[in-house]
Amino acid sequence: MNLFGRRNVLLALFALAAIAPHFVNTYHLFVCNLILVYVLLSIGLNILVGYAGQLAFANAAMFGIGAYGTGLLQVHFGLPFWLAFPLGAVIATSVGLAISLPALRVSGLYLALSSLAFAQFTQWVFLHWEKVTFGAGGFKTPTVSFAPLPVSKPIGLYYLTLILAAVLFLLAQNLVRSRIGRAFVAVRDGEVAAESLGIDLLRYKALAFGLSGFYAGIAGGIYSAMLNFVSPEGYDLFQMVLQKAMVVVGGLGSVAGSVLGAGAIVALLEALREVKGIQEIAFGAILVVFILFMPGGLVGFLKRKVPGWEEPLHRKGAGSAPAPAAAPAPAAGEARP
């Protein structure tokens, strides 16, 4: 195990994130929390785009659905955050599963277009279904209370996000190293071959879309609680571009890359606040430079330069052993002679 290997770097980042609240001011804590939200978003998006190869543009919309779901359940039904939050994630997951159905019939640019249309439709609903969503002005959500615990809301929320990000990181990491992850890659690398060799496209595409919806829903719920406010413009096309940029800059097909990409892009955007006015231009320019000179993303660069930085499709030590625990339950009537 190399000192600067993948695992050590990630552990160091986690330790840094765990002690960060003691050293930073409220604003920087907010930024750190934002990074963690984007870590969740880009891991989910990377499973869908980087592993399963589905070029979909609905992640910002599912992020929004998570935020609106969590917020509206509190406002309209008086549910506590601790109930509204998981329900919001469940709603986003179901929407993710639902949009996987058209993805079975279309792929590539057509999938990009149809998912884009879905995202615009979601925006339209946020804007115009005023009775429920409060329209363009958005709405305030109740402040989350960490009552029995002696922590303030920002710190409590930060640690909640950190724990969720760590757990969902490990989940994603284990998933992509299981048979499911390899099936995703097979669908990405050769859909027809995958299909003709008996990989059930419906199941794996639905799983990838559902997972990305779940991650986006969790991120949306937390984001709404961070801001105490939900409005449509946070979940528009620019949001989508941002998430795509994180996945590409971090490295497509790498869970660790999502973490690095999210951190890098949020930090970059914050740094560019200094050059107000040309922020977007500078951001675009940096992205172009990245794509030109580091096509594999940060992780591609690390893989080449740092010995011990690997992105295996297998669990350590497990070699090539199949992973029965992680495999989906056999479908009914599957018995083989």
């Binding site: 048979r179 890659v185 097979a186 027809v192 060799l197 008996g198 059930d200 297998h314």
Partner: protein, 234 residues
């Protein structure tokens, strides 16, 4: 074993297969020949569920299979070695092989089948951790065949296994096909290379314009002037 009757397949209004009937007896090697655009690949894609027939029946071991999804065909025991090999380039050889068993859950059986594939293609053992896309054409063909075997099929459909291989390796491919057959696999071989087909198959059908234009013993094909005329245009 595999019984195709009055199969009709169309893409939109374009009929690709008009009324195709033929049998692949258990334990045999049957060749399906034909020029470009004669419907060979469509035939195989229909036999793996990638394309649904308009009408007609596909019975395998007595059970109707037409209309099943692709993984349904694989579970019944029909598996395809696709044209152009289609290995998953960024995955290791070992991952490619294991994913061939995507429809199976008998882990011990998968293990032993994997060892068997490596025993059959010792060259792959050396490369098991390498990305499949970095292998030579012949080695990729071994991966594609091994991957299909991992589904433990009883009937193997091979789409132009000799295409794009160096002539020296085509001979190895012939040996491989014969070896698979000796192990009890029934094989339907689609070929452009009439020499390969004549070397391995007992029986051959020639597709032309979506219909079976000729059926007969494969060995006699090369000397049959009518066949050569209709098939190769000589």
């Amino acid at each position: 074993m595999l019984d195709i009757r009055h199969l009709k397949v169309a893409y939109g209004i374009t009929e690709v297969l008009r009324d195709v009937s033929f049998q692949v007896p258990a334990g045999s090697i049957v060749a399906l020949l034909g020029g470009n655009g004669s419907g060979k690949t469509t035939m195989l894609n229909t036999l793996t569920g990638l394309v649904r027939p308009v009408s007609g029946s596909i019975t395998f071991e007595g059970a109707e299979c037409a209309g099943l999804p692709p993984h349904g065909f694989v579970r019944r025991g029909i598996c395809q070695v696709p044209q152009g090999r289609e290995v998953w380039p960024s995955m290791s050889v070992n991952d490619n092989l294991e994913l061939g068993a995507a429809t199976r859950r008998d882990w011990a059986g998968i293990r032993s089948d994997l060892d068997e594939v490596y025993a059959m293609f010792p060259k792959l053992t050396v490369h098991r951790r390498r990305q499949a896309g970095s292998l030579s054409g012949g080695e990729q063909q071994m991966v594609a065949i091994g991957r299909a075997l991992m589904a433990r099929p009883r009937c193997l459909l091979m789409d132009e296994p000799s295409a794009g291989l160096a002539p020296a390796i085509v001979g190895d491919m012939v040996d491989t096909i014969l070896a698979l057959n000796r192990r009890g696999l029934t094989i339907l071989l689609v070929e452009q290379n009439i020499g390969v087909a004549a070397a391995v198959a007992e029986y051959a059908h020639i597709l032309q314009g979506g219909e079976i234009a000729f059926s007969g013993p494969a060995a006699g094909l090369i000397d049959n002037p009518a066949v050569l005329r209709s098939y190769l245009g000589r």
